[in-house]
Amino acid sequence: MSKSPLKTGPNRDVILGLIVAALLVLIAIRAPVFMSSGSLDTLVTDGALLGMMAVAQMLPILTGGIDLSMPANMAFTGMATALLSKAHPAMPVLATVAIALAIGLVLGAFNGCFIAYLGIPPIVVTLGTMSIYRGAVFMLSRGAWVNAQDFGKPYLAFPMGRLLGLTHIFWIAALLIAAAYVFLNHMQKGRELYALGGNPPAAKYVGINNTHNKMLIYLLTGLASGLCGYLWVARYAIAYTEIALGFELQTVAACVIGGVSIAGGRGSVPGTLLGAAFLVIIFNALPIINVSPFWQMAISGTVVLAAVIINSRGERSQGKVILEPERGTSAKVAS
C-alpha cells in the first residue's frame, strides 16, 4: 500500500520528469516554433523566476506553514528599487541588490515575528501582510507606473545580461536553488526543517528550536522575494502596483505538483523545480498553440487539484491507523 509510485521520493520525481519531457515533446510536435532558441530563452528565464520563488515557498510549506505575501513583497521591493533607480540612474547594481535584499528581509521579518514569536498561523499573518504590502506599493508610488525609459541603465542591464548565452537571472536562480538543495539535504538546519514539519512535538523533544527555525524561514522567503522583486521589475522593465499579483498561487501550485506535502515534512528541491517547469511550459505554450491566456488561471487551479488528489494517495499510509473509517480532520493550518 505504501508502495504507491506517486508518493514523494526519487521515484515520483522521475515520473514527473518524464511527464514534463512528454509535455515538451507534445508541444514541440504541435508547434515546432516552441523549440526555437528565442522561445526557449524566454521559457528558461520565466522558469528561473518561478523556480526560485517556488523553492522559497517550499521552506514554509515544509514546516506546515505558507507564505502568501511573497508576491506583494516582490511588488514592494520592485517598486522601491525602481523609484530609487529613477531618482539615481547611476546607482550601481550591487547597491540595488543590497537594497532589494534589505527591504525583502524587513518585510519577511515582520511576518516572522508574528508567526514565530506570537504563534499566529502563517496563513492568517501572510494573508494580512499580502494586502498590507500591496497597499504599501500603492502608497509608495501613489498609483503611478515606472516605465522603461525611467530606469537607470545598470538597473535594467544586469539581470538580462548574458553569461554563456543565458541570462543572469538564470544563473542567479541556478546558484540559489543549488544552495537551497545543499541547505535542505546536507546541513543540520535544513534537516531540522523536515523534522519540524514531519512531527513538531518530536522535533521539540529532540531539542529543535521551533521559534528560531520559523523566524529563519520567513527571513529567507523575505530575502528571496526582495531579490526576485528587483529581477522581475528589471526583466519586464516596468513597475506598477499589481506586479506579480496572484503569483503566490503559482508558487504553491509548483510545490504541490512537485510533491511537497502541504501538511509539512515532505518535499524536495528537484520535485519543486519540476513542478515549476511543468507550469511554465504550459503557460508559455498556451499562446503558441492558440489558446487564450485567459485559460491560465483555470488550468493552474485544475492542476493543483489533480496534484493534491494524487498526493493524498501517497500520504495516506502514514502512521498507524487505529480507526479505519472517517479519520476526522487533519490539521487545517498547522501553526
Partner: protein, 326 residues
Amino acid sequence: MNRTVSRWAFLKRWETILVLILLAICFVNSLASPYFLNPHNLFDSTQSFSEKAMIVLSMTLVIIGRDIDLSVASNVALCSTAMGWLALHGLPTSALLLASILVGTAAGMFNGLVITRFRVPAIVVTIGTLSLFRGIAYIVLGDQAFTRYPANFSELGQGYLFNLIPYEFLVFMGLAAAFYVLLHRTVIGRNLFAYGNNPDAALYSGIQVNRYRFWFFTLNGAMCGLAAAFLTSRIGATRPNMAQGWDMEAIAMVVLGGVSIMGGSGTLLGVLLSVFVMGMLTFGLGLINIPGIMMTVVVGFLLIGAIATPIVARKLSDWRRERAGA
C-alpha cells in the same frame, strides 16, 4: 475550573469592546459628515457590506470547524458569470437568482467533496478552486463583461422595503438570526463546536465529522451564490475580477468577531458586531475619500491585530503572573 469562567468573561468583554469600537466609529463618522446619521444614509451604507456579510455568516461555521475557505470570492465571480450567461439567453430574474444559488452550492459541494473524500487540508483545496472558479469566469468572459440583465433584475440589489430598508440588508439580518439559532441553539451547532475543539474526540463520540464539514462547505457555497446574485444586481454587471479580495475580508471579519482561527470557539453575535464595525469603518473611510486599496491595508492590519492582541495580552499576563510567583 475557573479557567473556563475567565474565558467566557473574556469573550463577553470582546463583544463589549466591539460595541465600543462601533460607537466610536459612528461618532467619528457623524463628525466627518453631517448626513451620516440620516436614516436613509445609514441604511444605504449597509449595502456596501450586506452581500459580503452573508458569506461571513457561513464562513464563521467553516472556521469554527477548523477549516478555511479561500475560494469564496472566486465562487462569487463564477456564480455571477453563470447568471450573466443565462441572462443573455433570456432567463427571468427569479430563475437567475435560483441559478446563482445552485451554481454556488455546487461549487461549495465540490470543495467539501474533495476535502473530505481525499482527506486533504481545506486550505490547499480552496487555493486550487480559488484559481479554478475564477479561471472559469475568465475563460467565459476574457476581457469582456456581461451587462445585459432583465429590466426588473436590479430590484434585487437596489430595491427598498418602505423606501428605506434595502432588501439585501433585510435578507442578511434574517440569515443572521437563522445562523444564530443554528449555531447556538441546535445540536448541529453543539456538534460543530465539539469537533472544532477536538475532531478526534468528537469522532470517537459518534459525531460524523466529515459529513458536517461537507455540508458546511456546501452551505458556504450557497451563501456565495446568494451574495453573487445581490452583488450582480446592485452593480448591474459581471466582470471576471469582481469581488476580488472578499475572501480575505470575510476571514478578517470572522476573526475580528472573536472566532478562533484554530477552531472551536466564537459567537455569532461577535461576528455580527464585527461586520458592522468593518462596514461602518469602510463607509467612514469612503466619507473622507480614502482610496479602496488603502481599505485593504486597514483590513490587513485589523486581521493580524485582532489575532495578535489577545495573544500578546495573554503573554503579558502570564509573564506578570510568573514574576509575581517568583
